[in-house]
């Protein structure tokens, strides 16, 4: 049964080989004369101020939470879509309830302001 996955492995090896060879070739062919100004972090021509790794703006965190919630729900839809033709109206009704709960959640989030980028 896993036989169908057989071509994925050589393709993976091919991809790594191609990528690796290109990178190494570029390293070998290109010059390498680093000096302090060249390797300095780019910050529009100024000397970098403070560390580059800073706090994460909270909006991105919220988007991540939203994504996790929805992604789990999406995963439940995939098997349903696959067997949808066999389940017929029964499957539709059951999934309708799930849809309803999902939409309630989305609507609540919307009106609570969870979808606004800036509060």
């Amino acid at each position: 049964m896993l036989d169908v996955y057989a071509p994925v492995a050589p393709l993976f090896i091919l991809a790594i080989l191609v990528g690796g060879i290109i990178l190494i070739l570029s390293r070998l062919m290109g010059p390498s004369k680093p000096h302090a100004r060249k390797v300095a972090t780019y910050e529009s021509g100024m000397r970098p101020i403070g560390p580059a790794v800073r706090r994460l703006p909270v909006q991105f965190h919220r988007v991540g939470m939203l994504f996790i919630l929805f992604d789990i729900e999406v995963i439940f839809f995939i098997p349903w879509a696959l067997v949808f033709r066999d389940l017929g109206f029964y499957g539709l009704a059951v999934m309708g309830v799930f849809f309803y709960v999902l939409l309630i959640g989305l609507a609540y989030e919307w009106f609570a302001g969870g979808l606004e980028w800036e509060q």
């Binding site: 393709l11 690796g20 580059a52 939203l66 994504f67 999406v74 995939i78 979808l115």
Partner: protein, 407 residues
Amino acid sequence: MEQLYIDLENYLGIGTDSVPEVVRLAIAVLVLGTIFLLAPILTIWVERKVAARFQNRIGPNRTGPYGLLQSFADVLKLIGKEQIMPAHADRIPFLFAPLLMVVSVIMITAVIPLMPNYIGADLSIGALYFVAIGSLSTIAVVMAGWGSNNKYALLGAFRTVAQLISYEIPLVFSLLVPVLFAGTMSMVGITQAQADLDYWYIFLAPASFLIFLFSNLAEIGRTPFDLLEAESELVAGYQIEYSAMPWGMFMLSEFLHAFLIGPLVAVLFLGGWDGPFAEDVPVLGVVYLVIKSMAVYFLGMWMRATLPRFRIDQLMEFNWKFLVPLSIANLLIASFLWELFPEPAGGGLVDNFPRFIVMGGSSLFTLMVGLEFLRRKSVEDRERIARLIDEKNYPLATADQTGVAGD
């Protein structure tokens, strides 16, 4: 995979008994990989030419006939450039990010059915594989942004992740519509279902097609969704500290990914290799697939040339308040109507015509309703901003509003 062997035997004259299986597998994969690795070089040329025409320019025309060799010249130049490792960079993520990006994109090519009986791997979860492996590039972007030790790069990486994971939701919801129609996730199965029916799923779900296209454009980060690069604010986003071929690999995988969106959309909604005589003459299938892919790709280029970039809040609201509800509604409506109007036996364009009207019509109607909401929202926003300008007396406003700017 057996199908691929059979084709190879036919086309290349490799006997089943004379060569061990590993070699045949390797050759088959090599053929597939080479086709797709050479594709972006041509696509970049097409893209540059078309973009030039949109901007009333000629585009590359010096290197080789019609500038066809321009991309090769670029690759050669990039190989000869210096690789710079920025100070204080996190070496391992920084070095491996381009590699991961290229690997993730090349591995996608395994599930694209080029013609009848020619596919790398006919996985039962083909469409899911495409989306899952394709979004591995998110991790590469985070690695690049984090490893560079650069504020612009890190901010670009944050934005990219937010954008990619947000647009994954409408992407999968609209991907489920053809899956639901065909009853399978295999790319071969979906194509075959459309070929057997003699019509394409775009007629049944035009709105899902558009949502899928948009979320894919966001997924590959093309204008108007190119916030990950955003030249005017983040300089180059996550790839700012990269030079020479590592940078070239980011560009290569971006173009390859953009190109691969074409076959994916074509397989799911436009019937893949399906077309007149495609099943008798398999090579025609490739031609049809390439034509359809390039048509989809052209849509992307057109949008890229026409639309300005989104702001990050607009981007997020466009996704969560427009695409997500719309894609959920479309999935619901499509599944309900599919049950209500069962498929006539045998398929065919004429027998299915009422279904096109009902299902396609309701799909488009939902889209129209959504667009109307969007329009009202944007009018409201514009008026709000105009009021703000009025109240605060910004000199930005026109002369008759403030009486200042005209002097």
